[in-house]
Amino acid sequence: MKRLVCLALLSAHCGEPLAANLSAVVHIDGLLKDEVAALALYVMGPERDDEVLLTCPTLLRGELTPGDDRVDLLAEARVSFSEPEGRSTVIEHVAAGANRLVYVEALAAGELVLGHGCTEGIEVNEGATTEVTVDVFRK
């Protein structure tokens, strides 16, 4: 009966309050940041060679990787991760322009990609440093 009620509530789009439990999601295999050994950071332009706009969802879904020929890869960096220094990385020599994307892969010691994150709509100005925050979540 309870299940039927829940299903009925969900069908009426009342199941959403469960979203409030997001912070309660527990990864039994440990905290992501404790497993990360290195970060791979990529800066990309918004225009793909095939005329389609590059977006974060495309990268996060794995439909496209930064190494894909269609991607306009502007800069990349790879840094060892340690707390707290590894939290902040400056990627230099990025061609100025609007709508840049930053895609980050969090790597384990064995090169396994543990998690990733992406931020888009970044404007890079000539000779200036733009600050962005990328939320990295388990892949």
Partner: protein
Amino acid sequence: MFALAVWVPALLAAAEPSLDQVERLYEKARYEEALQRLGATCRGAADLGKCERMRAFIETALGHEDEARAAFERMLASEPEVGLGAVAPKVQALFLAATQNVQQARGLALAPIEASEGWVVQLVAAPAGLAGAVAHVRPAGHAQFQRVELLREGDAFTGRLAVGEVEAGPARYFLELRLVSGAELYVGSSKAPREVEVRPPAPPTPSPFALPGLKVEETQPREGMPAWAVWSIAGGAALVVAGIVTFVALSGEPEPGAIRVNIRFEDDP
């Protein structure tokens, strides 16, 4: 016959990736598993709208707002009239944003076409979320729609169409649009096409020197060039050279910038 009517829906339901199972996982807050069960795409799902709606709710729960909005857009492309009812403000905001994007796409219309042998077919002020567009155009007096792929040129999507002989009057068209989210939708159809004005070519702009009453006579130049003409040409040439030098000096590679990336993990307190 009755047995068939009972069996076919049952078989279809069995073939579906089980949305019921996805719902149960969602109810238990097992969002990653629910997303995995849903698969990478809802394409081919019997109930595409429901599949995308589930995906949107799960992605929202996971904090993936872009993906949630994209799923809502695909849902709205499939079921334009669907609503959400009472939901949390965050979900409502994402749904509204998706609704606006889809409505903006549905409101697109071809710009008036200037009649010539090759028509320029254009969607002006196309939204950034538009990833691709194809126009199907039927000039007046033609029996068939002709397919024109439109490519982004700045803010517009433009294509060219060789039409040959046409009758006077508006052209009929419908659009196939693809959004960055993957949503695919039609504006008009072959059965219910839209109309676009086809304008006669603009007359050539009259020369500002062709004033009424003013008659310009061509005369043979005299032998040799007067001094003022020589100096004018020399001065003009010097200005052009100076302009080119300045342009070359200023149009070097723009100075690059830098990005400071701060990392925040999902399990940060």
